[in-house]
Symmetry: D3
Subunit: 288 residues, 6 copies
């Protein structure tokens, strides 16, 4: 089942991310820099933004799996070495003025945040597959995905405190919103404590925990294949509406949902889905 | 214990809902269309709005139990057959213009949303009792209740994706707000997966799980009877203040609470409750 | 390790709170009125505000442990007896006008709320240590802390309903926000049910549960000592950014974080932390 | 000026409001209790809610003019005499408990607020025509309309302060939002000062001022007739989108607008309007 | 004009502010450092906070007039000379770490903001009387008042840009909210342009403009005396409800208003005011 | 008037926009398609986004003037002809499914909104110079600028209603926020009425009105040159902080401002500006 059946040229432009299509309408993105445990350098932040913006409008993709290549981990987060020569901390800033240095830092942080936002902004659901090393920025990306699976041997760590700074590209803004207990979250963030897979699942950060990466990928593919068989109008609308509602009062979520669905409910997908439901056949939905 | 001790005429106007009063100040509302597994047709959406608006101001009610009649389930959700002849999807709309069709759909969705809102707007706490089939709109109603109990054999399903549409009468706006892990929620919503009672309890969607519907109803009645013995000013204020706070910053929740309680703290109930607490007697509170 | 190594005069002004410094940069605040199970009278509400405002800017404190003196409990909450002679309920108000009485009650509630807010407003992380009696206002304070530990024998109770009033100094505004299931929370609030330690941990209200108060304090001290060894810029920024994000859309959390960190990322702490990380030495951070 | 060409039975059920149709798709609602200067009693609050909910979905109405019958004024606001026998202040409340009295007052205020909200909730634009006496609740209604015209001799007064209470059915929530200077607004509210037509226009509260009521009605009819000739999809969408945006960040207004218009832009009205624009003919739009 | 009839000792503690009572229930606060054109040093920021917090709960005050002593101006804003030796810019900060300097600046800004907030937080309405020099921080205070009057010769200037910084104690947060055109406001802020009295009135920043300071004070006293004769419950509630509504959706403003007024409408003031209205007598309201 | 002294290659890539530099740090952007009255086709929406994103970070620009080339007008808005062949309305969409068409429309609207947002997102202040034809999308851009000047002969028109649709790329979300009276705004929007320069100025939409385009450009250049001589840290911070505050409660604006300025107040610009102020010399600020 899992062989790549279509690899459009455009996906090949990304040096550090390998995208395959293990099932119809399912894209599998691998962070592909295993020799650095998939740590992110400056270029990768830009690449992942472009990649997920591409996926977002690609009618051939309905669900995305995001994992880290290799056995050592999902991602070691920010590549501190690379960053120390090119990032906001290490760059030989051309100014001695504090305000201008700070201004440059802020512009840089906003760019990195946009890379993480690209996962949330992507119209298609993303399941993030976490194994072994999952540090720092890796958690920022994971919290911006829709669904999280992990292996028993995952080593989740909001590690920024140990680098002398507060996480600033997503974790501190999203973790309070995705249904994990605050007492637990603050405990591990302030101490930069490493969290294992059982605990991640118990606490609700991940919805499933697996013995091996292979089992995890396989289970994710089964889920993704299932979701990819549903109406993309229905699935993608659900992602958009959930994420809007998360940040707003229930009354606003309802208004937005009613406006959104005023068009979507008129889709042929509804008729097809209902007919298939009655006939117990598999509907075929137009691309989106 | 459970016989109806007072059935005001007004509650008898509702064809598809049976309301009994198994204990003082406790109303038990049953969705009463077991032959269709309590599926909601158009008229029932209107009825439930009127019913809960009636309960909201009924001084003889302090707590509400909401369950589904029969053994087959709490509710199968929207009655698709009925809807296909009279609802926004099936109605022979008198226009060929897309915008006007969409406008009609939106008006319809807002009406259905109001039915679900009626549970949240109801001044009295509601415990929702879920058994076996609990599909689609049934989940919208359940998430709008205050407390959820379920049986081990419950089959909870946010089923709309399988009908080719995103849920639009409440679930997508309330589920992100009631303290369940997002990873789990999005996983089951996108896949229209069926959730059992153990899982619902583990995840926090329900606070108690029971072996049988009878045990569930009996336990709910004990809880309801207890709550009904408390000051209704205190209980109903708590519902109002919690729901306001859910959607707003902590600072706003505090301001609203202080304004609200400026009157309520002066209630005789406070004096009565404190006196009874000291004397270990059961206070009698005036109706509200 | 645990003996008090520095007790500045200013901390001695607080009659009902004992502050010790069991480890460098760790303050341990004990509610110190064990003969009343640490119940809060009017003066104590004022004292705790001043105490945490002092701690907030004390460069010698980086983490705070908050516990109740004695074996009977963390705190019995509002001292109803004291309140009935001096509080908003009991005070012989000099007016017979309802509106003016209500106005006085509101002013009073805002003052009490400020005492609870002082914990959230305190720049330093607070771990709250709950044992046995933890009633009413005690829960308001606990939910305003960052981390909660409890003993197996804790008796948590949002008890206000039994006093004839809705909780109004914090619980109803903060409990909906800290990642506990709503069904569970509303169930226990309306019924004023007592919750044990296992349940508090299972539900996520507390992140750890202990067999004895001593174990709890000891474990908390180990955690606090660890956190106190980290960059205070990083730790305190994380508290500020998390709390801001909790109440606002993700996009606003991100903007605020970027603005905040534009200065903080330029801290020497980042360089020190990174260097120490590489050299595996323990960095020494300047006070804050 | 066109006389009333259609008076559906349903509009005749309203005793205190006269609805005529002076031009195609234009409804003219008159508050019709001139002997009391159109003061609102309890029944009228209920009537106006039902009336505007009816208009909201009436496909034969596209714009609404709201004025007061007779020469003495638009409306004297709340009929204090009537209220003193049946309203929240005057009703012989069946309780001596302050909290329960307050509860009744709040329920009552919410009902009155709903009457005012009915104007904002009405899908069709409303121009409110103010002459001479425009006191108290009259201002609440006026601020909930879309457009305000007034005569030179109007006597606008937020009069509640002189009745010993803060306005509570809309003015204090809407006046801060409709583009009038705060310094001016607070000055006249605290002093219950009467404002004339020139001042109302200068300050932006009204967009036009007229010498006589007749001129005002005539000018309003010309404007309404013009608006009624436009696409109702476009006009009603604009009202909905403006009102949503008023209360939310620009970014949310944009998102909602994009979702809303995703259906509406596909309307035949766009094609018709564009074709007519090129051919300089008058398009005919389907009802909505 | 009425001379000061009561000067409680407590008001005499403030060195730089002179408080007199020119009419019953009217306090007149003068910034009293004319030799420095009433510029604010560090101590004055603390004093004005304490002063307005005192006024806020003083039952003998119902309205406040705020003006600057002397002929040279309302206030020159921040005393840059004083600040350069003791403020966040000039203070010899004991650290060389940029993050810690920034942290100190932020704490300082929050303190200054609190001084400005004290005017908004003050329960009593404040009319701010601006003449000649009204620079920088003076505008922050003015925008936090309820009503603004000015003289023709006022020289209003948001001057911070010319000091190399963005205004950060209130103007940038409040000016967008008080009903002035944005195009005008941004034009003068970016250019640090001086605005005269006619323009301030035309644009709505001030609601009245006067030829002389004496006329302005006299007119303000007449207004204040009038407002002071009204029900303080009604007036102070109006301030609280307006300010809450300003920052929130209309629906939230309405909810808060209904909760607030549930107590206040039951005031004796309502009965007294209505009776007096009928009898055309002057009611006497209890203190608040 | 200063001729263009520097035209970086990068600005020459934009076919339809001419950027000159009439004074140090002042960029003048002209919409340069006068033969179509500067109407926007699809490509121009993309160009203007890229152009303002370039300006936003260009250290050689501190203020931007935006005008329309030629004598016929600022811009005729959307080029309906071009749009009818390539835009969301005219494109031969490859689907017959209503939901998918609507989805495409929404994606398109979001793209156009982003073009308008680019003006607001641009770090530098923008003064928008409106003459003669200023229709539809032209108003969307104008309301997203900081300052608006216009000529007496401007013909402002929110024209979308006459095209059968509600404005959806900015006007309906921003016009309610920039300090114009709602009654006036809704009156002209629903009727697609043309507004002249005197009226635009009276109502506050523009802050200055001129007899000729030349006078307007000349006056704008004087203002821009003045602003460009100020600290760019101060000016750009003010834009950022005002825009953040517009959409949020005052309290949030204050918090954000304090965090932002914690770095910015430490700028050398403050020292330079203060020194220059005392010495009455012209400071030179580092680029930003």
């Amino acid at each position: 089942m899992a062989s790549s059946r279509r690899t459009p040229t455009s996906y090949e432009q990304f040096k550090n991310f390998r995208t395959t299509f293990p099932a119809p309408f399912v894209a599998h993105v691998e962070i592909n820099r295993p020799e650095k445990i998939n740590a992110f350098d400056n270029a990768m932040f830009r690449e992942i933004t472009a990649l997920f913006d591409l996926i977002s409008h690609d009618p051939n993709v309905r669900v995305v799996m995001l994992s880290g290549a290799g056995t050592r981990g999902f991602s070691a987060g920010l590549d501190v070495m690379a960053e120390s020569t090119s990032g906001p901390v290490g760059t030989p800033v051309e100014t001695r003025d504090f305000a201008r240095k700070a201004w440059a830092v802020r512009r840089h942080a906003l760019l990195y945040q946009e890379s993480v936002n690209a996962l949330e902004r992507c119209e298609k659901p993303i399941v993030c597959l976490l194994h072994v090393v999952t540090f720092g920025a890796a958690v920022d990306f994971a919290t911006a995905a829709d669904v999280r699976y992990c292996t028993r041997d995952v080593k989740l760590c909001v590690r920024e405190i140990d680098a002398g700074l507060a996480p600033d590209v997503g974790t501190l803004s999203r973790l309070p919103k995705i249904g994990v207990p605050y007492s637990w979250a603050k405990e591990i963030i302030y101490s930069a404590e490493v969290v294992g897979g059982e605990e991640a699942a118990r606490i609700g950060l991940a919805s499933k925990v697996f013995n091996t990466k292979e089992e995890m990928v396989s289970s994710a593919l089964a889920w993704a294949t299932n979701v990819a068989s549903k109406s993309p109008v229905a699935v993608q609308s659900s992602k958009a509406l959930w994420d809007f509602s998360r940040d707003r009062p229930v009354a606003d979520g309802l208004l937005y949902t009613a406006a959104w669905n005023s068009a979507m409910v008129l889709s042929d997908d509804v008729r097809k889905a209902m007919t298939s439901g009655l006939k117990r056949t598999q509907p075929t939905f137009e691309k989106l």
